[in-house]
Subunit: 222 residues, 2 copies
DNA sequence: CCTTGTTTCTGACGCGACGTCAGTTTAGTA
DNA sequence: TACTAAACTGACGTCGCGTCAGAAACAAGG
């Protein structure tokens, strides 16, 4: 595990005794799962495997989660916030969209690099359970909505050509998700730099045109 | 099942008695699997479920396949050919690449629309078995290689700017795979037309520039 | 310190799916 | 019809799941 750039994800690192024991135990289980999924794929995850390092019995697991997919749901909730925060710049903020877009992709790549195997586990888990599949695709859909809105807004300002915003947003989001997961979801992870450049190039040339690629700004003429 | 455009996939529709019985039974099982996966997800597939409509016992399955993933491997071999054939125009042929690219995406969308749920099943199966995961990602890698080669060739001819071919090809291929699977992998399938347009737009504007979008040709000046 | 009630935990169970094997049935051949 | 090889089957042991009745740990009141 000599890869660099891994700031381990920890749930509730505060062992405050005030906090109800149930919450703390739940965090212990989540952390065990995170640790497991950092090195081994979701398909190898069993209740026994998660619980073993905690010293608790297998049955105890079911006091905190209905099943493994409910646990994954809890992990998704954590990751989801990190990712939304990363994508924030392009989605929310105002200003010349090209540098914002670069910034957003920059952060997105960083987060996915740091959490790669975990995110891949979430994506894998989505294929094996109908309920969690809904949760995961809802997460992706939230991105579709946000990107669609942003594209349409930029179209109103004449920055993006008259394309069908929703399916393009859909496709570009799948691009990100599956590229990032394929690149960083397993060890050894790919070099993030070429991934970052490729994603940026694809998004920018598709939405804002090839000519915006070299200049850091240049769309919004002041 | 009133969706249009489904030409059912059949393995060895020839019930020639000359052909060894083993081969015919194998085809029967494959067809049962195809039928099952057209309406239900891979996660619901069990050996008992595949064998039930065949009238054979569960144990008989293991005479033909090591396990369910070996069966998926066989299905991949079939689909793989269809898909390679679809992508052929852009990869192999010579000439103005933009219309070739449109043609290739056109065919690719059609195949994925026709086989959607089955392809999704393959992609899902890849996450649950280490061996089949290799096979599936090998399939995707073959596309990476082909696309990389084509990009580099077009770069030599000055048709594509000086970008890092491999990671861009990688990203664009994940784009196709995950978009097509998400769009057509389950019922009801999305309208293929916007998907086709979006993919074409993304590939073309990324590789050949925004200005090539409207004209069906125009890159190769004769 | 000893009850008492609640929270937390556990061993043991039944279930469903897997993959195997010894042995039976079927089909082809002489 | 008899024989042989191919095709098939019932039954078994294993593993992981999710449940449940009850044990253990813990907190509070007497």
């Amino acid at each position: 595990m000599s890869e660099s750039g891994y700031s381990p994800l920890r749930i509730t690192p505060s062992p405050v005794p005030q906090v109800p024991k149930a919450e703390r135990t739940k965090a212990v289980i989540l952390n065990a799962a995170i640790e497991f999924l950092w090195t081994r794929p979701f398909r190898d995850l069993t209740v026994a495997e998660v619980m073993h390092p905690t010293g608790l019995s297998r049955a105890a697991f079911y006091q905190y989660f209905r099943d493994l997919h409910a646990l994954m749901q809890a992990l998704q909730d954590v990751i989801q916030d990190e990712i939304f925060a990363a994508a924030g710049p392009w989605i929310e903020e105002v200003g010349d969209p090209v540098p914002l877009m670069r910034e957003a992709i920059d952060r997105l790549v960083r987060v996915c690099y740091d959490r790669g195997p975990l995110i891949r586990a979430l994506s894998d888990a989505a294929t094996t359970d109908a309920v969690f599949e809904q949760a995961w695709s809802g997460f992706l859909q939230a991105f579709d909505d946000a990107a669609t809105a942003r594209i349409e807004e930029d179209q109103r300002q004449g920055l993006i050509p008259d394309l069908d915003a929703r399916p393009v947003a859909f496709a570009l989001n799948r691009l990100d998700a599956s590229t990032l997961i394929a690149a960083f979801g397993q060890h050894p992870r790919l070099d993030p730099e070429p991934v970052r450049e490729s994603l940026a190039r694809i998004w920018i040339s598709t939405l804002y045109g090839t000519e915006c690629l070299d200049s850091d700004s240049g769309l919004v003429r002041t």
